[in-house]
């Protein structure tokens, strides 16, 4: 009878265990709302450094010169902020020292994102057209668990802001200083040079210094309170045990 009772209890126990095991395994791990709690985040500070690069486009404007210019020399995790186009040219076919005759007129149109800026000059020129592309993000600090996390957040903000594409059109209206019946000797246009200077900000992350992180001085009483009661409890226990041992002897 007794053995039967034990056997039955053992069977009940095993059944409970199996049911518990099945129950646990069929539940998938779905974190609740309060599960999404991350460890405390640190403060990272982005430090932006301004840099620039240059490129040169040389061309000959015969009536009209058209080109597409893509600025793609900016590092992937930097932000392109502005582009300067400086066009220089000089009419090579004029006559006259004081009053020049037959001067060409050169017009440059640059279009970016539907906005067109124009400059024109007669005889020669050195004009600059500037486009502001992006603003530097106004991020003072980034909270993240680690540097990789902070970089991910920052790069997400900068994503796709490192290039720009421009349509350039240079048109020349030629002037003839003298009458030239033979077409071959007519003014063919002008050489020009466009210096493209683009500015960008590269970024580095700095972990907040201890002071910046608001680190506070731990009061002496905190350390004392951590240790002193512990020492008292241990001391009281030791004293009691020694006293008790002596009593037994």
């Amino acid at each position: 009878m007794k053995k039967k009772v034990y056997a039955m209890m053992a069977i009940v126990g095993v059944i409970i265990l199996i049911l518990a095991g099945i129950g646990i395994s069929i539940y998938s791990y779905e974190p609740g709302e309060d599960k999404a709690i991350e460890p405390k985040e640190k403060l990272y500070y982005p430090v932006f450094t301004e840099e620039y690069k240059e490129m040169t486009i040389n061309g000959l404007a015969e009536k009209t010169y058209s080109d597409k210019v893509t600025i793609n020399g900016v590092p992937s995790n930097a932000i392109l902020t502005s582009v300067d186009f400086q066009i220089s040219w000089d009419d090579d076919k004029t006559i006259g020292l004081i009053i020049k005759r037959g001067e060409d007129t050169l017009k440059i149109d640059i279009t970016y994102m539907g906005e067109t800026k124009t400059k024109s000059s007669i005889g020669s020129g050195s004009d600059t057209i500037t486009f502001d592309i992006n603003n530097v993000p106004s991020v003072d600090s980034i909270e993240a668990n680690n540097e990789t996390g902070a970089k991910d957040l920052l790069y997400e903000m900068l994503s796709g802001k490192n290039e720009a594409c421009f349509d350039i059109s240079v048109t020349v209206e030629t002037g003839e200083p003298i009458y030239r019946p033979i077409k071959r000797f007519l003014d063919k246009g002008d050489d020009f040079e466009i210096k493209v200077k683009y500015w960008y900000y590269s970024v580095e992350l700095e972990l907040g210094s201890e002071e910046d992180d608001g680190e506070i001085d731990i009061p002496f009483e905190t350390w004392l309170f951590l240790i002193l009661p512990l020492v008292c409890v241990i001391l009281a226990t030791v004293i009691y045990l020694l006293w008790e041992r002596r009593r037994f002897k």
């Binding site: 034990y6 209890m9 053992a10 009940v12 126990g13 409970i16 265990l17 049911l19 518990a20 095991g21 129950g23 646990i24 395994s25 539940y27 998938s28 791990y29 779905e30 974190p31 609740g32 709302e33 309060d34 599960k35 709690i37 460890p39 405390k40 992180d213 608001g214 680190e215 506070i216 731990i218 009061p219 009483e221 905190t222 309170f225 951590l226 009661p229 512990l230 008292c232 409890v233 241990i234 009281a236 226990t237 009691y240 045990l241 008790e244 041992r245 037994f248």
Partner: protein, 485 residues
């Protein structure tokens, strides 16, 4: 996740195997209720501490550390000195008295101590124990529901059912032997985790200074021993936090450990082991709370800080062990309390009052049925949930006020009378219920609320003294009893 589940299931299997192994050792009611007074040094030492600390140690106290920082150390100090008080003042004398009076339970002891043929003391003590112990078990089930739901993403009620099933099963199977030996296993697991987790957390955050600094940034008061309070409010904060100390002599589930030791000379070693365990565990639990504050800043439920910390800091399998340890802390107390409540019903009511001639087999069977019924009641109570720290404070406080002063005076003051004992139990219980349930201190911030156990303890103490002095003592009987010690 699978590794985490595996670690947890292995733990559960070990618990049930201990239950099955122990079940063969329960031949008599003595065996079932106090292991036939055959327990050795380690089971008594670890079992007393693990039963004492409960889910409160791994959820309530870290939650307190999270909320009040180093101020939570006051609670640790109160518990540590309370434990030392029990080992030094109560344990040996209670062991002697209960052996001499052949008492298996606390009501048994009180009835014999006061020669109460009317059984009034037994009836009152049994009622109080059953009410507060079932409430206490329900708190443990709440804790198990919280931890299992947090870990496995279950809803609270499903988690509660699993906790209920496991605890009930091995207590029902193994009785005191199972409870004591599972406590040893669970106690070692708990103390191990309470050492390892703070070390890993401190290392991860870059040192203890970094931990305090980060915690101080969240709330500078957490670095202050008085949680920012000064003067009288500081004293109130410290005193309210330490008030747990008054509860120790009145906890039947701890006191029965002292009664179960094989011989009283083993108590010296048990004290050493028990105090070492308790000091490490308490300070570890507070540190875990502070580390959690430094890492998470805020949590919807601060009492879940330990499992969250484990899952964030440790590899999956180790987190599984931590979850097992937390469950261990809960189970080790719930099973002991379930057993004490059972002993009240079976030994104190059925055996002593209704059927004194019942045979041992029948009594053991009745005990098992009682375990099942009482745990069902606790389960129903646990469905409401709640904050573990304060739920424990209520149940602990009820027992503390009802039995604490009475046990001390019964063991040490000859002049205590039966009517003094009755007055102490009733006044303590009534005070704690009125204080906690009817919101005497409800307008105060929670950290300044003095738990009912503190006023109730003194009300009970003075009631016993005053009524004892006013009533007649059976001097010859008492003198004879005390002469033997």
């Amino acid at each position: 996740m699978s590794v985490l589940i595996l670690a947890f299931v292995i733990y559960l299997i070990i618990m049930v195997l201990i239950g099955i192994w122990s079940s063969k050792r329960n031949k008599t009611l003595d065996d079932f209720l106090i292991a036939g007074r055959k327990l050795g040094t380690w089971p008594v030492a670890i079992s007393a501490q693990a039963s004492d600390m409960s889910g409160w140690l791994v959820m309530g106290l870290p939650g307190r550390g999270f909320a009040y920082g180093v101020g939570a150390i006051w609670t640790a100090v109160g518990c540590a000195f309370g434990t030392l008080f029990n080992w030094s003042v109560v344990a040996k004398r209670l062991r002697r008295f209960t052996e001499k009076l052949r008492s298996l339970t606390i009501p048994d002891f009180l009835e014999s101590r006061y020669n109460d043929d009317s059984h009034i003391i037994r009836a009152i003590a049994t009622t109080i124990i059953t009410i507060f112990m079932v409430a206490y078990v329900s708190v443990q089930l709440v804790a198990s529901g919280k931890i299992l739901s947090e870990t496995f993403g279950w809803d609270y009620n499903s988690a509660l059912i699993l906790g209920f099933a496991i605890i009930t099963f091995y207590t029902l199977m193994g009785g005191f032997f199972a409870v004591a030996w599972t406590d040893v296993f669970q106690g070692m697991l708990i103390v191990g985790i309470l050492v390892i987790l703070p070390i890993v957390g401190i290392a991860k955050l870059g040192g203890i200074g970094e931990v305090f600094s980060a915690a101080g940034q969240v709330d500078a008061n957490t670095l202050s021993p008085g949680f920012g309070y000064a003067g009288l409010l500081f004293l109130l904060f410290a005193f309210a936090s330490m008030s747990w100390i008054f509860g120790y002599p009145g906890q039947p589930h701890i006191l029965t450990r002292y009664m179960a030791i094989k011989n009283e000379k083993k108590l010296w070693n048990s004290t050493l082991i028990g105090m070492t365990w308790v000091i490490i565990s308490l300070w570890g639990a507070v540190l875990i709370g502070i580390i959690g504050l430094a890492m998470f800043k805020e949590l919807p439920d601060p009492e879940k800080v330990m499992p969250l910390l484990a899952m964030n800091l440790l590899p999956e399998w180790a987190a599984g062990v931590v979850i097992a340890a937390i469950t261990a802390a809960i189970m080790s107390t719930a099973d002991s309390q379930l057993l004490v409540a059972t002993s009240s019903v079976v030994e104190d009511v059925y055996h002593k009052l209704i059927n004194p001639d019942a045979d041992q087999k029948k009594l053991v069977l009745f005990s098992r049925i009682s375990v099942l019924l009482l745990s069902v009641v606790a389960f129903i109570l646990a469905l409401q949930g709640g904050v573990i720290y304060f739920l424990v404070a209520f149940a602990w406080g009820g027992l503390a006020a009802s039995f604490g002063p009475l046990i001390i005076l019964s063991l040490w003051w000859k002049r205590t009378t039966k009517w003094g004992a009755i007055a102490g139990m009733i006044s303590g219980t009534v005070t704690v219920i009125i204080w906690d349930k009817f919101g005497i201190a409800a307008s105060m911030p929670p950290e300044l609320v003095v738990p009912g156990m503190l006023p109730a303890f003194f009300v009970s103490l003075f009631s016993i003294i005053i009524i004892s002095l006013l009533t007649k003592l059976n001097y010859i009987e008492t003198k004879k009893l005390f002469k033997q010690f």
